[in-house]
Symmetry: C2
Subunit: 351 residues, 2 copies
Amino acid sequence: MHLNIAVLEGDGIGPEVVAQSIKCLRSVEETFGHSFTFQKGLIGAAAIKETGSPLPKETLKLCKSTDATLFGALGLPEFDDNPKAKVWPEQGLLKLRKELGLFANIRPVKVFPSLVKQSPLSKAQVQNTDLVIFRELSGGIYYGEKTIDEEKNSATDICTYTESEISRIAHLAFKSARSRKKKVTLVDKANVLETSRLWRRVVGSISDSYPDVTLNCQFIDNAAVQMVLNPSQFDVILTDNMFGDILSDQGSVIAGSIGLLPSASVGLKYAMFEPIHGSYPDAAGKNIANPVASILSMAMLLQHFKMNEESNAVVAAVLKSFSKKIVTPDILGSSKYGTNYVGDFIADNIM
Amino acid sequence: MHLNIAVLEGDGIGPEVVAQSIKCLRSVEETFGHSFTFQKGLIGAAAIKETGSPLPKETLKLCKSTDATLFGALGLPEFDDNPKAKVWPEQGLLKLRKELGLFANIRPVKVFPSLVKQSPLSKAQVQNTDLVIFRELSGGIYYGEKTIDEEKNSATDICTYTESEISRIAHLAFKSARSRKKKVTLVDKANVLETSRLWRRVVGSISDSYPDVTLNCQFIDNAAVQMVLNPSQFDVILTDNMFGDILSDQGSVIAGSIGLLPSASVGLKYAMFEPIHGSYPDAAGKNIANPVASILSMAMLLQHFKMNEESNAVVAAVLKSFSKKIVTPDILGSSKYGTNYVGDFIADNIM
Ligand SMILES: CC(C)[C@H](C(=O)O)[C@@H](O)C(=O)O
Ligand SMILES: CC(C)[C@H](C(=O)O)[C@@H](O)C(=O)O
C-alpha cells in the first residue's frame, strides 16, 4: 500500500517523538512491503515564529492533500504566560481539527501488564483496565463564540452542541462498544448544564438502536474520581470536548505515564493521529521524551487503513520494549535509555 | 456565644450526616458554654416532593435570617435520569448559593497521617499534602444563560466572568496563602478559553500586591493529573466554578474517601457549610455514610465565628476517631461502626 503522510512535528518534544514514529514506519515499509512518503508542515509556536500564523495555509493544504496526518505536540510557555497575546500555538491545532472536520478523538487507555507496577495506583485498582474515550473534538466550549469586553472587563465563552454533533460521535461510540465489552458511559454535568441535558436526551434515544449495549451516565466530577479509583468499570466513555480533555489526561495516571497514550482524531474525510501529551518543553532536545505515545498513535494510523497485521506488529514491538525494560526515564526512573534508543529498539523489532 | 443555625438536610444521606454534626454541636455547647439553636428548612428533592420547588421561599428566608447554614447533600437518581425534567434538586443548591452571594467555596484537602494507608495512592505521593482549593462559586458556566432550541435541536450554556468576580475570590486566595505556604496556583484553560485568559490577567495583576506570595498557572487537564501524581506541590489552588468542582472531587482520592472532605461557602453577608460529597442515595438509611465531612464542615463554621478553640476540639475528636479506627466502612472495609456510632464517639470526645 502507498500512503502519503503529512507530518506536523510542532513544538517541544514534538520533533523528537515523531522522528521515532517515522523510523518505525520505515521499518513497517520494509517488513511488509509498503511505501510511505512524508511531507512536513509547520504548526504551533514553530509556525508562528516562521510565518506569524499558528496554522499556515500551506499546512492545512498539505493535510487535506495527503492520506493522513501524524501530529507531534505543540505549545510553549512563553505564550501561556502572556494572556494578552493575539495568537498562540494551540489555535493552530484547534483550527486544524475544525478545518479537517475531526469530530471524534478516540483515546484508548490500557494497562500494559508489564507496566502495572509503574502506575502510581495499586495493582488491584488498575489491572484489567481497558477503556476507550470518545471525546467530541470539534464543538462545545472550545469552538463557541468568545468575546472580551474591555470596557466592562468581562469575558465570555459559549458552549453549544447540536443534536447532529452529538449523534455522529455517539454512533461511533456505540459501534465501538459492540465489538468490546458492550458498555457506554456518558460523562456530563446534566445537573447543571443545558448542553449536558441535550447529550443525555440524544444519546439516550440513540441507545435504543443498540439494545445489546448498556448505557449509563456519570457526572464529570464523579467520573474523574472513578477514573482513578476504579477505572476497570469502564468500557467506552463518551463525552464532550472539555470533559474529554480532562478525563483522558486522568487516564494517563492509570497507564503509568502520559507518555504512553495515543489517540486518533477522525472525521468523515480526514484523520489525524496525535499523542495525548503536550509539548513538554522542559524535556525538549534532551533525548528523554517517551516516544511510545507517538508510536502507538502511528499504530492507530495503520489500523485506520486496515493494516491490522502491521499495526499489531508495531504494538508487539512496543510491548517487547516494555518487557525488556527498554523504556525512557518517565517509566523507570533509573533507565538510561533515551528517546532515540527506544525508537531504534521498537523499529528493529517490528516483524 | 449564641448562634442561630439553619439546617438543610437535603436528600439521601444528608439527614443522617447532618444529625451527627448537630450532635457534635450540642457537645460543643456543653463543653464551652455556648448556645445554638437549629431551624430546619427543605431543599432539593425533598423540597420538590413537598412543595414543587427545589428551594422554597421559606428556606431562603430562613438562611437569610439565621447566622449560618449547615447543609447536608442533595440529588436523587430519578431526577438525573430524566433530562426533560423542568425542575430538579440541584437547582435548589445553585439558587441558594447565588441568592446568598456565596462566591467562594473553600475546600481544604489534607492527608490525615493515621489515614495515609487508606489512600489508593502511595504514601510517598500523598504524605504532606495540605492544600486548599478556592473555587469560585457564583459565576461561570453554572450561572450563564442556558438555552435550548427545540427546533434546531441545539442547546447552549454561556460562561461569563467579570473582573470583579475574579478579583474578590483572588484576594481571598492570596490572603489565605499568606498565612500558609505562600503559593497560589491558578488552574484554567487559558490556551482555549477567553474567560481563562481574563482570569490570568486579573489574577496576574492582583499578585503584584502580594509580593510575598508566588503565583503559578496550570492548565486544568494537567492539574487534574498533578492532583493525583503530586498533590503536595500545591498550597492554595484558585479556580473557576466548573474546574473547581472537578478538581476538588479529585482531591478526595488523596484523602482516601470523599466522605472526609468539608467545605465552607462564603460571601460578604452569609456563609454556608457543606461537605463536598453528594447525596449517595444507595447508602441512605443504612447507617453506613461517613459523617466526618459534615462534622468537619461544621468545624469550619465554628472557625468562621472565631471559635478556634472549639473548632480545634472538634477536629481533635475526629482525629481521635481515626487513630482509634472508629470509622465507617468507606475508610476501613472491615469496620463495623455505623454513622451514628462514629458521630457519638466524636461528640463524646469533644473536650
Ligand atoms: C493543546 C490543547 C488545546 C489540547 C486540547 O485541550 O484539546 C490538548 O490538551 C489535547 O488534549 O489535545
Ligand atoms: C450538586 C452539584 C450541583 C454541585 C456542584 O457541581 O457544584 C456539587 O457537585 C458540588 O460540588 O457541590
